[in-house]
Amino acid sequence: MNPRFKLGPAIDRKMLVIEAGCEYVLRPDRMLGADDVEVRIDDFPFRNPKEDQLRTISELAVLQHARIELWDRHTRICSWTYAETDTPDAVEGWLRGTLLQLRSQPESEAFSNDGSSISDKQTAQHGITRFWDLFSVILPQSVRERVYEPARQELLDDYLSVRGKFPTKWGTRWINFAFTVRIAVMVAQSLRAWLGDKALAWLWWLLIAVVGDGVVRGLRCLFFQFFGRL
């Protein structure tokens, strides 16, 4: 049986979170400035207990800040936001294709049965880790994306691993404090890396401007030849 879609009036940006084996994740950069769409999918086994409908606006509001592009083929966790630059028809088509693909899998494979909701899992990240995001606003966007974010994800990996080992109240508090310090240090390191890079680039530019590109290349060759003889 095909899922049915009912596109309603614009209500709010909504996030659909499904724990399933889908491979389609709408990229965040495609999510700007579109009309919101309410999608009702009948006869589809959402884990959401609210019949077959998505969560209400208030419940979805919790999810609005959740990270997108979550896709893990091992746990089959997938989330995305729709209501985007695409027209409702395009959204519907995309969603229909995705859901049809999901439906082709056995339900036992497509959905876990642990009873916990994805929103709980995601909001669990939002306490201290969202606070950490405040530190990074000092960085230029390019540095945040290229330098800070991959390092932050690595630190988050450490944080979650350590937190799992010490799940007590005081253990968690200490870990939160320690990792907050580490995040602050990491922001400082990002700034340093960025400024160092800028300074080096500026010095290199100055050298080339003063003595010329050919001279700099020649000096570089001489330098390597000299040390090559040692």
Partner: protein, 105 residues
Amino acid sequence: MPIPETTHLQFLVLGALLDGEQSGRYVRDKLAEAGHKKSGPAFYQFMARLEDMGFVEGRYEAKVVEGQPIKERVYTLTGDGVRAWEEVRDFYLVHSGRVLRRAGQ
């Protein structure tokens, strides 16, 4: 044979990626094993530069730790990266061969 533009550190990183796609953490550990420890931001800036040069390609891969989904930066060597690595390797093979022959005489 011209002196390669690739630095020793870049050579090391490119070599670590020769076997296929690796996470940033893995590459950073390899650097640390070779005695070159870098902070996370410094390392990822270094990798971003390699990406700009077209030697590696980076992307995020989702990962779940303790039930929490996070992202991990993974890198793949490009064709240019392989060529740059081979260029440095050949350079040192040729020159070390000359030095050894001279030492043998």
